[in-house]
Structures are given as C-alpha cells and as structure tokens.
C-alpha cells in the first residue's frame, strides 16, 4: 500500500510542479472502439465474447422483468406491507412524521456541511447519454409492444438530444450535484401525479384488481410533502448557518442523528401512553434532584484546583453506584431510573478531570451533563411506557422499517462497545488486552447466525427472574455484540496508524491518558479508518437479512414468505426476491458511493 501511495504522491508532485499531463486529442467513436475494443485479435475475441454474455444476460433479465407472466402486482400491491408490515392505517401519519424528521435532518445537514459537489455540463451530458443507452437497450431487448417501444424511443431521443446539447453548448457550466439529485427526485415524485402507474389496493385483506390511473392519494401526497420538507429544511439550514457557530450547529445535528432512531421508534412510532400525573409526581422531581445535586457536584469536581480528592470522590461514587445496583439483587427496591441516573452521574464524575479548565469550559461541561440527563430520563420514561399502537404480534414494526431499525440500532450500540474493545486490545494493560483479544477473536471466528440463534433461544435463560427481552431486542443485542468485534478490528487499524510522536507530544503538553486518547488519538484514528468503517456499515446493513432465519418479520421474510405466500400471488417469489435485492442494492450502493465522496472531503491519503 505504501508503495502505491508513494507513487500517487509522485504523480501529485508532478502535477503541482506545473507539468500538465499530455493533452489527449479528442477522438471519435471509431478510434475509441479500435483502442478499447479491438486493439488486438485477442481483444477482439474478448469483445465478441463479452458482448455475447452481456446480450444473453440482459435479454434474459429484461425478458424476465417485463415478461407477460410475471407477477409484479405482488410487489406493487404489498408495498406498504413491505415497508411497515401491519402498521395500522389510522395511525399511519406517524410513519410519515418519522420519515419527515429524518429527511428534515438530511436537508439541514446538507446545508450545514455545505454539500458542495458540482457537476459540469459535459458529465451531465454523459449521464444523459447513459440513460438513453439504457432505454435503447431496453426497447431492443425487452418483449414490449410496439406502442411502448415508440414511447421508449422518443424518451431515448429526448435524452440523446439533451446530452448532445449539454456537451456541445454548455460543457463548462457547473450545477450543484445536490440540485441534480433533488431534480431527479422531483421528477420521480411528480411522475406519481401524472404517469398512470395503476392503483393497486388491498382492502380488508382482499386484493383488489389493479385499476388504471395514477397511484393512490395516500402514496403520492405524503411523498410530495416529504420532498418539500427536505427542500425547505435545506433552505432553513442555509439561512441560519451563518448566524450560528458551526461547532454548535454541527454538534446539534450529530446529536440529532444519534437520537433519530430511538426517538422515531420509541416516541413517535410506538405512541407511548404517558400518565401525566405520574410524570409530574415522580419523574420530574427525580430529574430536578439529579440536575441540581449533580451539577453542584460536577462543578466542584471539575475545578482545576481540586486534585486527588476529586478522584477519590469520583471513585467512591462509582463504587456507590455499583453497590446500589447490586443491592437491587438483594431486594432493595428503588426505581430503576434512580439507579441509572446515579450510575450516569458517577461515570460523568470520573470524566470530570478530563474536562476541567476555565469557567466557560466548566459551564459547558455542566450544560452537557444537564442535556445528557434530560435525554436519558426522557427516553427512559418513554421506553418504559407501553405502546398504544395495535398491531398483530408484539412488535409495532416489520418489513423494511424493522430492518432499518435493527441496522441503525446495531450500529449505534456497537460503536461504543467496539471503541472500548479496540482501546482494550491496543492497551498496555495485559488483562484488558487479553479480555478484549479473546472476545474479538472468538466472536469473529463464529458465524453471525449462531450468535443470533444463541441470543434468540438461550438469552432469556441467562437473565434473572422477571427480566426478559423480546425477540427483536435480543436479536439487536446479539447482533450489536457481534458487529462490535468487527468494528473493534477496524478501529484498531486506525489506532495502530497513529505515530508515536503524537503520544509524546500530548505527553509533553501535560495531557492525561484519557485526554490524549479522546482528543488526540481517537479523532485521527477514526478519520484514518473511514473506508473500512463504511464497509462495516454496509456489511451490517446487508446482514440484517439474517433476521429472516431466526423468524423475525424483516424485509426479506416479508418478501419471501409473507407476500410469496399470499393466495393471490402464489409463485411470485422470484419477483419478491428481486425487489428485496433491488432495495438492498440501491441503499448499499449509494452508501459505498457516498463514502468515496466522504473520503475525498476528508482528504484521506493526501495529508
């Protein structure tokens, strides 16, 4: 790898020195074909063979997708089942609110982080040609009627014309990539109002014969609103981004993204039935107590003058909190939230010396504590309140939403665990190293499916009386513990890439080990391992399909078993699997593509 990097550096150095690479003379399609397809006899044979393979493959694929006897109705009718399983119709607006929050965050983030990719006219024209080529391939190879072929031909000609116009007249104009994306989305959403995709409905468990016309209002209206929400959020973000400090706005957005999944799931989609009398009598006083006492304690602890006595107090707090937890096992009944808050306070107290400094710094530390406490208490309250959404089965989500929930929660949970494991494995303390190494290697040596089965069937055996986890939650827990081991290995690569000088410099500045790790080492290490981390995200997302095997109603099970088993759509499993594969593909492919952009933005391999 180093050799490659050196080579690239050398190329970059030449470019900086002003020696432009030799101009490539523009050449026509014949020259291009001779150079790229028929440069030698062998190459010509390869071209012919490749063309044949491509032709057979696409012909079979398109013949299959557009063939007369295919049952795409199965997918079209069951879209809602696919994405949210049996979420009740009268509460469906909750799903849209949850999606809307995510899209609003997307729009805001695009504005705050100044998504600045630009596309020039030449490239846009190339894409237009690509679309035209795809359309032409389709109309030649697919079993279309002649009328449909004519429409495709006209569309293809329009794209060819657009491409030619962009390439010839405006090759240098630059358009923000963002507006291209939004434009494409707008065309797609707009087409819902215009193009007669047909109306596929499912009324009271009965499949209705598809009716002509555009899609149902319950589909096209929300999607239009969603698009508008995203665009409006973008402009709001653009308006406020110069008025707020970038650190604050970015911090808030990151926090928002972290909270998105638990908030969407526990607060919005579950619709917990809060008992407000109970809230004001119990939950609010507990919160206020910890807010006041905790802030005072932390203020005292984070004083730079505090010295050893602060450490002792923090240590005692940890032991106290631990004893308090153990006491529960021996029958001391205290509200769980008090125990959680006490543990939280003790952990933050231990971290206090890391954040000591001037008054402003300490004030920010206290503010952080208050926000954390409020969030934890709020979420704990919401999690502990029963859901009021009535669905068959015990879990309100299913299908794609369950897949997404599992993937995101696993990522959120495995990140801290993996970080700790990686630090443990690279630590100089042998017992920590031994424990983390054993854990990582054992977990990495066994297939995910065995872990999932273990957690599904046996986890509840290991839990104390009266405690149990639903299938979904135990799967998430097992999966998070599994992917933490892989994440730890990725992070370890980053930790090992930090040069010794960094540690020595931090040491020379008088930083403690915790400060060095959190402010010097980890930021650099994590930046260095963005590509493998993204790879891990993709793998985690793809492997949520294994939930199918342990019997959860994830995206794959809905497609393969539920939809494939409906009497109206018997024998539609290939269509359903292709649809599932397509959705997975779209998402993983776009993640991997955007990671390339992210790498460029972070300047990986350039600094």
């Amino acid at each position: 790898m180093d050799e490659k990097r050196e080579q690239m550096d050398w190329v970059a150095a030449v470019e900086v020195a002003g020696e432009k690479p030799p101009e490539v003379p523009p050449h026509g399609p014949v020259v291009w074909a001779r150079e790229n397809l028929f440069s030698s006899v062998g190459s010509g044979i390869l071209t012919a063979a490749g063309l044949l393979v491509a032709l057979v493959f696409f012909k079979a694929m398109l013949g299959y997708i557009f063939g007369a006897d295919r049952k795409w109705d199965a997918v079209a009718t069951n879209l809602r089942l696919y994405f949210t399983q049996a979420y009740p119709d009268d509460q469906y607006v909750r799903v849209w609110v949850a999606v809307g929050i995510a899209l609003a965050l997307t729009g805001l983030s695009a504005a705050i982080w100044r998504a600045s990719g630009r596309v020039n006219g030449y490239k846009l024209g190339g894409w237009s040609f690509g679309v035209a080529g795809g359309l032409l391939t389709m109309l030649v190879l697919s079993p279309f009627s002649w009328g449909a072929r004519l429409i495709y031909l006209i569309l293809a000609l329009v794209f060819v014309g657009t491409g030619q116009y962009l390439r010839m007249s405006h090759p240098k104009i630059e358009v923000p990539a963002l507006s291209v994306v939004v434009g494409v989305l707008a065309v797609l959403v707009g087409s819902l109002w215009v193009v007669p995709y047909g109306r596929h409905t499912f009324v009271n468990g009965e499949v209705q014969p598809p009716r002509p016309g555009t899609v149902a209002m319950t589909t096209k209206l929300p999607w239009t609103v969603m698009l508008l929400v995203m665009v409006v959020a973008y402009f709001v973000g653009k308006a406020v981004r110069d008025k707020v400090s970038p650190g604050l706005s970015k911090g808030l957005l990151v926090a928002g993204w972290m909270l998105l999944v638990p908030f969407d799931y526990f607060v919005i989609l579950r619709d917990p039935a809060l008992d407000y009398g109970q809230v004001f009598r119990v939950d609010v006083p507990i919160f206020l107590f910890f807010a006041v006492v905790g802030s005072a304690l932390l203020w005292w602890l984070s004083d730079p003058e505090r010295g050893e006595i602060g450490r002792v107090v923090a240590g005692l707090m940890v032991i106290g909190a631990g004893v308090f937890w153990l006491a529960a096992a021996f029958g001391l009944s205290v509200r769980q939230i008090i125990r959680i808050d006490l543990l939280l306070l003790s952990v933050v107290a231990v971290a206090a010396p890391t954040f000591t400094g001037e008054k402003a710094v300490r004030r920010r530390f206290i503010l952080g504590w208050l926000i954390l406490l409020a969030l934890v208490n709020y979420m704990a309250m919401m999690v502990n309140t029963d859901s009021t959404v009535e669905v068959p089965g015990s879990f309100p989500l299913g299908g794609f939403s369950l897949t997404l929930l599992v993937a995101t929660s696993v990522l959120l949970m495995s990140f801290p665990i993996g970080l700790i494991l990686a630090l443990g494995r690279t630590s100089k303390m042998p017992i920590f190293r031994l424990l983390s190494t054993t854990y990582i290697e054992v977990i990495r040596g066994v297939p995910l499916i065995t872990i999932l089965i273990f957690f599904k069937i046996i986890l509840n055996l290991f839990l104390p009386d009266g405690m149990s986890l639903g299938n979904e939650m135990s799967a998430i827990l097992g999966y998070a513990l599994f992917s933490a081991a892989y994440l730890a290995e990725n992070v370890r690569g980053g930790l090992q890439s930090i040069r010794k000088g960094q540690y020595e410099a931090a040491n020379a500045l008088g930083m403690s080990t915790a400060q060095t790790t959190s402010f010097i080492v980890l930021p650099q290490a994590l930046r260095a391992v963005v590509p493998p981390l993204v790879g891990g995200v993709i793998a985690t997302f793809k492997e949520t399909s294994l939930l199918f095997i342990i019997g959860l109603f994830d995206f794959l099970r809905i497609g393969y078993v539920v939809v494939g088993g409906q009497t109206a759509f018997v024998g539609s499993q290939r269509e359903n699997l292709l649809f599932v594969a397509f959705i997975y593909w779209i998402i993983t492919f776009s993640i991997s593509r955007s990671s390339v952009q992210l790498e460029k933005k972070l300047g990986l391999g350039e600094r």
């Binding site: 071209t47 490749g50 393979v53 042998p430 990495r444 069937i457 594969a581």
Partner: protein
C-alpha cells in the same frame, strides 16, 4: 501508577468473571426450573432424524449426525473455496483489462453481487432451481452425462476404489522422488544458468510412478498388517501415559515460548528490564500450560482416551484398506442414471448428484465470495509498482514471464492476508445453508436441538467447530504468508 493500573485490571477481571458466573448460575437455575439439565447424552443415543444428504443420512447417534453435518459443511466450503478463487481471480484480472466491454462487465458483476445480501442471493438461486425442468427419462443437456433438473445437477463421478490406498503409496513415493529431483534441478539451474525443465521432469516422474503403480500396487498390501499392528500398540498404551505425554507437551510448549520471548528481549548488554506487562505474559504462558494439564486430568479426562482411540481406529481403518495382493482398480468411475423407484423418476445414487440445496448454497457463496476476491486480486495487482514490470521488461523477460516471476509474487504478498479473511467468511457463510435446508452443521444442529432440547450444547459445538475451522484456515494462510514474506537480512 502501576499499582492503580493493576488494581483496576484485577477489578475488571473479577467483574467479568463474576458476571459470567452469575449468568451461568442463573442459566443453571432457570434450566432446573424448566426441568432441563445440561447433558451430553444426546450425542450417544439415536436421534431419530433423517438428514437431507451426506455420508450417512440415517445417523445412529447424535454425534454421528453432527459429524455428517460437519462433513457437509467442509464439503461445500472446500468446493466453494476452489471455485470462488478461480472465478474471483478471473474477474479481478478482467477488471483490469484494457478491453472496455470486459472491464465493464466484470465491474457490473462485482457491483451487483457485492451489494446484495448473500442470503437473498441464496434464496434466489433456490427459487431459480425450482423453476428448472422436472426429472424425466430423457433429461438433458447431455443425457446420462450431464443432467440438470429441479432436483439438482447430475455428473459422472470418479471415486477411489478398492486398490486406491496401495496405489496412493506408490504415487506418494513418486511425489517424494519428484520433489527431490525438482530441487536438484532447480539448484543446478541456479548454479549453471542452463534451463533444466525442473517442473516438467518432476511431474513426469510422478506420472511414471502413477502408471507403474497401476500394475504393481497389489504388492503394497504388506503394509496392512503393519498398520493394524500400530493400531494394536496404540490401544495397549495406558491412558495415564497419554495424559502425561499431553501434559509434558504443554509444559514444553510453554517453556519454549517463554525461552523465545526472553531471547527476543535479550540485547548484547544483557537481558532488558522486564516490564510488568512482560512478566504477566510469562506468568500467563505458565498459567495456560497449567490450565491445559488441569483440563487433561480433571475437567475432561475422557479427552486422552478419545484421542488415542481415534488414532487407533484410524490405523485399524488403514489396515483394513490394505489387503495383501488385493487387485482392484485404484480409481473407478460411474455415470449418473435415472431410475424410477417411487412415483416419479429420480437420479440414481450412481454418479455425482449435486442436490438442489447444495447447488443453491454453492452458487450463492461462490459468486458472492468471488466478487470480493476479485476486488482483492485487483488491489493486489495494482499495488505492484509499475517500475517492476518495466524493469522486468528491461531485463528481457517476456510479458508472461514478467507476470509470473515478478508481478504475481509481489501481488500475492498483498493479496494473501485479505484472501484468508475471505476464505474464513466463506466457511462461516455456508451456515446460511439453513435457509435452503442443506444439511450442514447448523441445520443438523437445529434439527437435533428441536428434537432433544439441548440447545446450549449444540450451540457450544457449533462455536467450537467454527472456531476450529477459523484457526485451521488462519494457520494455513499464515504458513504461506511467512513463506512469501520478503527475506530481510
């Protein structure tokens, strides 16, 4: 500072261990409350299950059933490894091709396969196979040679026959002689610079031995009684001796490790000062050996007996295979046929029948792993600096020779470690067999625990097996890694 570090470590260790003990105790009491006890008895009684395929579809004990599952896992993994490596290498090289269409095709393949979950792909192949034609008496594409149906794919089969083991002895002797000749000729070439055709000569010698072996292999039946005798001798060894030998081996291994560790720390100025970390490592090595001895004598006394009996059975088996002047053919072949035993025509047991479950799983893992291997191969070839190819050209090496002698050996160094990871992934991914009902270890295990309720034990066996496979593959990959490493002076 050191004291605080150690106190915190010991506290964490105690917490972890007590947490594990707590969970174990909890599991024990919960199991007792449900009237389930952990026991391994299910391994030795007849499970009453029928397996889809494998070396024994009606296993007589639970252990046998799991063994059949393991063999099936190994079978599909081994075939998958070979096919995925070949396909992945081809596609990886194709992705570097200057030919536009070949390049784009392989890119398309990789981008599609890599981004779709493997389980979806396996299920898709299973559904595709279900749409193939039914078995009938003139099934194609090549009747009685290569037949494709929704029951699977049937091919001619070549298998070791009665004289195989005697013949193998001759071939092994040939291989040894060939190896000696190869090294001799290589040295000669390096010294004199003359082309000595080392490889072709060596292969020729092996071929000659194999051919001669076809005639004289019955003579090697005299080995049979010897193997049987070795088995008898092994059987006569008291278990205590085996246990002592195992313990001695563990102590010796720990001692060797400590010695090498200290040697590494030794500088010309004497032994470097040991840090607390180093002392811990030494103590830990000793502790591991001690734990090994405790395992052999106290925790699992049956282990030594099991080891020695397996070894004895192995030699007795070999003794049975060698029989004085047995004149059978070493290898035999059979074509697949179609017979009708029940209501419908089906493949007969002659011939190599790739069942539909095996095929779906194999297609899935091979294509999926090949896509990843292709990327690794591409990255490996790109990692070799261009100057190397140019220098090889300047020395007058032909393109093929430059690729074989200069580029690939260097690329292999980059390719091998991630390739080992992919092999590991492939083996683990075969556990998805459960989705299509292929009787691999996980599927057999699931059937078994559904039958007997021994989930905990079955999961333990799964994990042990896969950990063992991981260890095996890492050892093999590491072996080649060390051999490929640049020799530094």
């Amino acid at each position: 500072m050191v004291v605080i570090k150690w106190i915190s470590q010991v506290v964490v260790l105690i917490l972890v261990v007590s947490g594990l003990l707590f969970f174990a105790a909890q599991a024990g009491s919960n199991l007792r409350a449900k009237n389930i006890e952990t026991s391994w008895r299910f391994l030795s009684v007849k499970p009453g299950i029928q397996l889809g395929e494998g070396i024994d579809v009606n296993p007589s004990t639970g252990a046998r059933a799991l063994w059949v599952g393991m063999v099936n896992t190994i079978r599909v993994s081994a075939v998958g490894l070979i096919l995925a490596t070949i396909l992945g290498t081809i596609i990886g090289v194709a992705r570097l091709s200057k030919n536009w269409i070949v390049n784009k095709l392989s890119t398309t393949f990789i981008e599609i396969i890599r981004n779709v979950p493997l389980l979806v792909q396996i299920l898709f192949w299973a559904v595709v196979i279900r749409t193939w034609s039914e078995v009938d008496f003139n099934l194609g594409p090549i009747h009685n040679w290569f037949m494709v149906s929704q029951k699977g794919i049937a091919l001619p089969r070549i298998f070791p026959s009665t004289g195989f083991y005697q013949w193998m002895v001759v071939v092994l002797i040939g291989a040894y002689v060939g190896r000696r000749v190869y090294h001799q000729r290589e040295t000669e070439r390096e010294e004199t610079g003359r082309e000595t055709h080392a490889l072709s000569t060596a292969l020729g010698i092996v071929a000659v031995f194999a051919a001669v072996g076809l005639l004289i292999h019955p003579l090697f039946g005299f080995l049979g009684p010897i193997f049987t005798a070795i088995g008898d001798v092994l059987d006569a060894i008291p278990i205590l001796v085996v246990q002592l030998l195992l313990s001695a081996a563990m102590v010796a291994a720990a001692g060797l490790w400590i010695k090498r560790f200290l040697d590494n720390l030794r500088t010309p100025a004497g032994l470097a000062k040991l840090t607390d970390d180093d002392i811990f490592r030494i103590i830990f090595a000793g502790f591991s050996a001690l734990m090994g001895i405790v395992l052999v004598f106290v925790i699992w006394p049956g282990l030594s007996a099991w080891l020695i009996h397996s070894l004895r059975d192995f030699f007795h088996l070999l003794g049975d295979k060698f029989e004085w002047l047995r004149t059978g053919r070493p290898l035999d072949g059979e074509r697949p046929r179609i017979v009708q035993t029940g209501r419908f025509p089906n493949f007969s047991t002659s011939g190599l029948v790739i069942t539909k479950e095996f095929a779906a799983l194999l297609f899935g893992v091979v294509l999926y792993t090949a896509a990843f291997i292709a990327e690794i191969v591409r990255a490996g070839i790109l990692a070799v600096p261009k100057g190397q190819t140019e220098a090889a050209g300047a020395l007058g090496l032909s393109r093929g020779l430059a690729l074989r002698k200069v580029v690939l050996p260097q690329a292999m160094r980059v390719i091998l470690p991630p390739m080992g990871n992919q092999y590991l992934n492939l083996v683990k991914n075969t556990s998805l067999a459960i989705a299509v009902g292929f009787a691999d270890l996980v599927q057999v295990g699931q059937t078994l625990y559904n039958q007997t309720g021994r989930t905990l034990e079955v999961v333990a066996i799964w994990m042990g097996f896969y950990l063992g496979m991981s260890l095996l593959i890492s050892v093999v990959v590491n072996f080649f890694n060390v051999r490929l490493r640049i020799v530094e002076r």
